[in-house]
């Protein structure tokens, strides 16, 4: 059973919003990722997304593209990432979501992936280049396996697409705050608020907002209007910049400051 929904429920009961932290699995190695995930969880991340490195990541800006290149250089594969999850599950019960481009899942095999991911302890799946229109085969497989497929909505999404995603998405709905790629700058928070309210009108599934959230201040503003705040590039940058020991300290302190921004005022 997925750990995502109970996590959102527990947080809601306390008036908290979810902090969802993204790291690229295998950046720079999978051993490092295993350490970082435990640190992120200890520092307050409520859900952790594990990026699967892909050679041609069309939805990502340079920070995450380069992280993927580092991960591929260290030999990271989807299979090895699932082994890391299995190992992590002896140490932490933080909800884990795999974020992968569709070709990685397709090549692994949709049915095999749903089965193996759940067996390893993965709770959810985000595929940035798989709109609901192309999820016809994986959706029932994931439902049967107990894997939450989390769909995305964007500022350009029409009401019709919002209702479709609201109906299909499990765990939470990933609202992309801007027309753009990961690591871009979020400027129009009023528009985000309007859209999140609109989506909430269609469903009780929590809505988390990602893209362009780089500071605790950004996180605080978004936490006011959504059920969860997703931070990726800002964390990946910390990992890219330092030596292992320096990274772990900064990762923890930055995550703590983000988490405090999601607590009730």
């Amino acid at each position: 059973m997925s750990r995502i929904q109970p996590t959102f429920q527990r947080l809601a009961a306390r008036g908290e919003k979810a902090l969802i932290a993204y790291v690229m699995a295998g950046d720079p190695t999978l051993e490092d990722t295993e350490t970082y995930v435990q640190q992120l969880a200890a520092a307050g991340a409520d859900v952790i997304e594990l990026g699967v490195p892909f050679s041609d990541p069309i939805a990502d800006g340079p920070v995450i593209q380069q992280a993927a290149e580092r991960a591929l250089r260290s030999g990271t594969t989807l299979k090895k990432i699932l082994a890391t999850v299995r190992s992590l599950r002896t140490k932490t019960q933080v909800p884990l979501v795999v974020m992968a481009y569709y070709n990685s899942i397709f090549r692994y095999g949709e049915a095999a992936f749903c089965r193996d991911a759940v067996a390893a302890g993965v709770d959810g799946l985000i595929v940035p280049d798989m709109p609901p229109d192309e999820a016809g085969t994986i959706h029932p497989l994931a439902e049967a396996a107990g894997l939450d497929v989390i769909f995305l909505l964007a500022p350009t999404s029409t009401a019709r697409r919002e209702t479709a995603v609201a109906r299909l998405s499990r765990g939470f709905i990933y609202y992309v705050s801007l027309t753009g790629i990961t690591g871009a700058k979020l400027t129009d928070k009023a528009d985000v608020e309007k859209k999140v309210r609109e989506i909430r009108g269609y469903t009780k599934t929590p809505v988390a907002v990602g893209f362009g959230i780089a500071t605790p201040d950004d996180a605080r503003e978004v936490a006011r209007i959504a059920d969860g705040v997703i931070v990726g590039s800002a964390l990946v940058k910390i990992i890219a910049e330092g030596s292992h020991a320096a990274v772990t300290d900064r990762l923890s302190s930055f995550t703590r400051s983000l988490k405090s921004a999601t607590l009730p005022a």
Partner: protein, 397 residues
């Protein structure tokens, strides 16, 4: 007219729309606008006008007597897309998409380019219709094709270097998709081949299918019968599908797509997707790809930048599986031999892309009877490749 793809943009198992949610409404809008335009007599009139007066259509169907004699078999004809304005078939598509851009009220266009032929064709129509234009190009390709970079700049286009990944065409496409995702409300992405998410493979095929419609009429006029073989090179596959579409229902017309065999299949340095590839998803579409066991896209190699890409158009994948079109490849070396042969036998200097098609015909024609006919799509002229050819021959200019 073919009825494919279906409403979901599928050619059987292939095609579709594997793109971020942000782009789906733009693809819907494009599909809607295209459908409206296709039915509007005024759009057809306008498109025909520019194809005739600006591009120079219809292009001739030329009987290559000396080459036919030299190879000693079938009669060989060339569809002269090399005579299109800007030197290749690419402009058939960019004129169509630029007219659509104007209909959608968008003022900015973007594009990717590998060899620079599509980039130049986009820069040209942007100048023609007064559109702001930015072309993405890998830094590796910018070095190899410095002349086309300068041509685009002379036409008033911004050429943006892409320094990510392999710094070639696939990275330029990724970067153009990122730009489009960011500026989708004001910008139209003029994709250059029958690739990408629906409706691109369908729309670009339709714009290029003028090649086959003309060819069919011309060969019937010249020979009173249909050709036995159509041969064209296949990168993304727009010149080939453009020529083949009008003949798909003519069961006796055999069609051959020629991919880039690079340094040979065994070397691993090639772009022959049907020779060693497998099904996957790249840049929005499900098709045959060169990928590793983990689904990472592999680097490709070809002497011709226009064939140097890891995926093939989804409609080709469909016809390959149905055995309606057969696919083969020619190596760099074979393409160079064909380049010399055609230059010296007919005074036609082909681009290195269609030189691959000629290379296949060098093997095919001698096996056929004199009464049989082959039509090759001469999709572009070789001017752009002169530097590259000099380099290969070890000549410094």
């Amino acid at each position: 007219m073919t009825s494919l793809p279906d409403a979901r943009g599928r050619f059987g198992a292939f095609g579709g729309r594997y793109v971020p949610e942000t782009l789906i409404p733009a693809l819907d809008e494009l599909a809607r606008e295209y459908e409206k335009a296709r039915r509007a007599p005024q759009f057809k009139t306008e498109l025909d006008y520019y194809l005739r007066e600006y591009v120079g259509r219809p292009t001739p169907l030329y009987y290559a007597g000396r080459l036919s004699k030299k190879l000693g078999g079938a009669k060989i004809y060339f569809k002269r897309e090399d005579l299109c304005h800007t030197g290749a078939h690419k402009i058939n598509n960019t004129i169509g998409q630029a007219l659509l851009t104007c209909r959608m009220g968008k003022k900015r266009v973007i594009a990717e380019t590998g060899a620079g032929q599509h980039g130049v064709a986009v820069a040209t129509v942007a100048a023609l219709f007064g559109l702001q234009c930015e072309v993405y190009m890998g830094t590796e390709d910018m070095e190899r094709q410095a002349l086309n970079v300068f041509r685009m700049r002379l036409l008033g286009t911004t050429v943006t270097a892409v320094n990510a990944g392999s710094r070639t065409l696939k990275d330029a496409i990724s970067e153009a998709m990122r730009d489009w995702t960011t500026n989708v409300r004001t910008t139209h992405y003029i994709l250059g081949s029958v690739l990408g998410a629906h409706p691109y493979p369908m729309m670009i095929r339709d714009f290029q299918s003028v090649i086959g419609r003309e060819t069919r009429k011309q060969i019937l006029q010249a020979e009173g019968k249909l050709p036995d073989y159509l041969v064209a090179c296949v990168g993304g596959g727009s010149n080939s599908i453009g020529m083949f579409t009008a003949f798909l229902k003519d069961k006796k017309v055999k069609m051959v797509g020629v991919e880039a065999g690079g340094l040979g299949i065994e070397s691993g340095k090639h772009a022959a997707r049907f020779a060693t590839g497998s099904v996957g998803v790249l840049h929005g579409t499900m098709t045959y790809l060169l990928q590793d066991d983990d689904g990472q896209i592999q680097l490709t190699h070809s002497v011709s930048a226009g064939l140097d890409y890891a995926a093939v158009g989804p409609e080709h994948a469909f016809y390959k599986e149905r055995d309606r079109i057969s696919y083969t490849y020619a190596t760099d070396e074979q393409a160079m031999t064909a380049f010399d042969l055609l230059s010296q036998t007919e005074g036609l200097m082909p681009a290195l892309e269609p030189a691959h098609a000629v290379a296949h015909v060098m093997k095919l024609a001698p096996k056929l009877k004199r009464s049989q006919i082959i039509v090759i799509n001469l999709s572009g002229r070789g001017d752009k490749d002169v530097h590259q050819v000099a380099r290969i021959k070890g000549v410094s200019l």
